[in-house]
Amino acid sequence: MNQQIHDIILAHAGLPAGVEITDETDLYRAGMKSFASVQLMLALEEAFDIEFPEEMLNRATFRSASAIERAVSQISSATLVA
């Protein structure tokens, strides 16, 4: 999942060409704007067949690859239980 998230970030976060990111890179500081964060979120929903609940739609959720991974895992496991 981690690699897939990195791929989606590179494809959709609208970061400047050549930027390298780690799990902890702050994507907003790296150049992600709110418009791109929306595209990133839609791509994540499609790739993992999930839906981010309203309370997770904030800047903290999409701040870094590791934050995204935590959010996706949390939603996926909640879906399995339900």
């Binding site: 970061l15 400047p16 930027v19 702050d26 907003y28 500081r29 790296a30 150049g31 992600m32 704007k33 709110s34 418009f35 929306v38 979120m41 839609l42 839906e51 981010f52 609940p53 309203e54 309370e55 739609l57 904030n58 800047r59 903290a60």
Partner: protein
């Protein structure tokens, strides 16, 4: 509780009223001459209104954003330019309070600002970024413990009158355009040159001239939080709330004139309901909706601020966008309807029912961050907003 910085014996409401009276007295001259509302801002200083929202420990009075919004409405009704100066100053103060309290320099600066009633201006706009708040071309260039900054700013409202300017810039010369910081620049740390003159339809007293400037200041004056967070978590929402409150004040004053006009008609002929009365009731209703929208926005702000770890949701951002778009549109309609009610008495540039200044001032509302731009952003957010109704099964 008597706040430390308060003027002896006068309540906040009395101090606001005193400043509003002076603002109203000079509003016409400010508009006609396109000059800064010095008298009104001096009265704000005398009433110690410029650090109200700072906590008492640094010399403020701990006023809430709702308190500040109420004052924006009162001052905006007296003189829209003075009200907008007050609003813009307090937006910068929110930014400073949000991230300055843990930093020694900013804490000290806040104390000084409260004591000396310093006036803050904001320099976010830059030539070449197409009006996008979240992009900068200029960059902070480290110079030992200090930094240099050079910016080409097509607009800085009251840039000449402010004691300090809050400027956005890229974090360093290698940072992407959206990796911004907010720097506090003091007047004596800047070389500033006016490059264009604000001669506008309305809001003429905001003196939003264009400037080019260079600054050299200690790095500790840069606010510690990234501007991305400042903008998303407080600045944009505070701007929409306080601007809307000023516009509500303009609309309220226009409605008051229309009401006085219709009442005067009724006195002349008490047996007949004046023809303008139903229209007056319709306009009154519209103003009540504007006030309700602002109260709703302020309540949402309080909820968001009570839960700072989560930060604002997309729902909150959408609500603030909706507030700005609706109040800027509806307040214009209120002033326009007041003009229809008073007729030529409002169209004339003098006399008790004159509404030309109100109409010109309120026309700025839809343009201060263009509504089309805001709706484009809101449309994006709506694609991802989740409610029970939009959920895919």
């Amino acid at each position: 509780m008597k706040p430390a910085g308060a003027v002896a014996g006068a309540s906040l409401a009395e101090r606001v009223r005193a400043a509003a009276e002076i603002a109203a007295e000079h509003a016409e001259a400010v508009d006609r001459e396109g000059r800064f509302p010095h008298e009104a801002v001096d009265a704000m200083r005398a009433g110690r209104l410029l650090a109200l929202s700072a906590p008492a420990e640094v010399g403020g009075e701990g006023a809430s954003l709702a308190d500040i919004a109420g004052i924006c409405t009162t001052l905006g009704g007296a003189c829209a330019s003075a009200g907008m100066v007050f609003a813009m100053h307090h937006i910068s103060l929110v930014n400073l309070l949000d991230c300055g309290m843990e930093s020694a320099w900013h804490r000290e600066f806040l104390t000084r600002a409260a004591s000396e009633q310093l006036l803050f201006a904001s320099s976010t706009t830059e030539a070449g970024v197409g009006g996008d708040l979240r992009q900068s071309i200029c960059a902070v260039e480290a110079d030992g413990e200090r930094f240099n900054l050079a910016k080409n700013a097509p607009v800085i409202s009251y840039g000449e009158e402010a004691d300090a300017i809050f400027a956005t810039a890229r974090r360093d010369p290698d940072a992407p355009s959206s990796d911004q910081v907010l720097c506090v620049l003091l007047k004596d740390q800047m070389e500033i040159e006016r490059v264009s003159t604000w001669d506008a339809l309305g809001m003429r007293g905001t003196c939003s001239h264009g400037f080019r400037y260079k600054a050299n200041a200690p790095q500790e004056q840069i606010l510690p939080r990234p501007f991305a967070d400042i903008a998303a978590e407080s600045m944009v929402a505070a701007s929409h709330l306080l601007w809307s409150s000023v516009w509500c004040g303009i609309a309220s004053d226009a409605l008051a004139k229309a009401q006085a006009f219709v009442t005067a008609e009724a006195r002349k002929n008490p047996a007949v309901t004046p023809p303008g009365a139903p229209k007056l009731a319709e306009t009154y209703t519209r103003l009540r909706l504007i006030e309700a929208a602002i109260r709703d926005g302020l309540a949402r702000w309080d909820v968001m601020r009570a839960n700072p770890d989560a930060g604002p949701t997309m729902g909150f951002a959408l609500a603030m966008n909706a507030l700005k778009v609706s109040v800027s549109t509806e307040a214009l309609r209120v002033v326009d309807e007041a003009l229809m009610i008073c007729g030529l008495q409002a169209y004339k540039n003098s006399g008790p029912y004159s509404l030309g200044r109100h109409l010109r001032d309120i026309h700025s509302a839809r343009l201060m961050i263009g509504n089309d731009r805001i709706l484009a952003g809101a449309g994006q957010l709506l694609l991802v907003q989740r409610t029970a109704q939009t959920r895919r099964s």
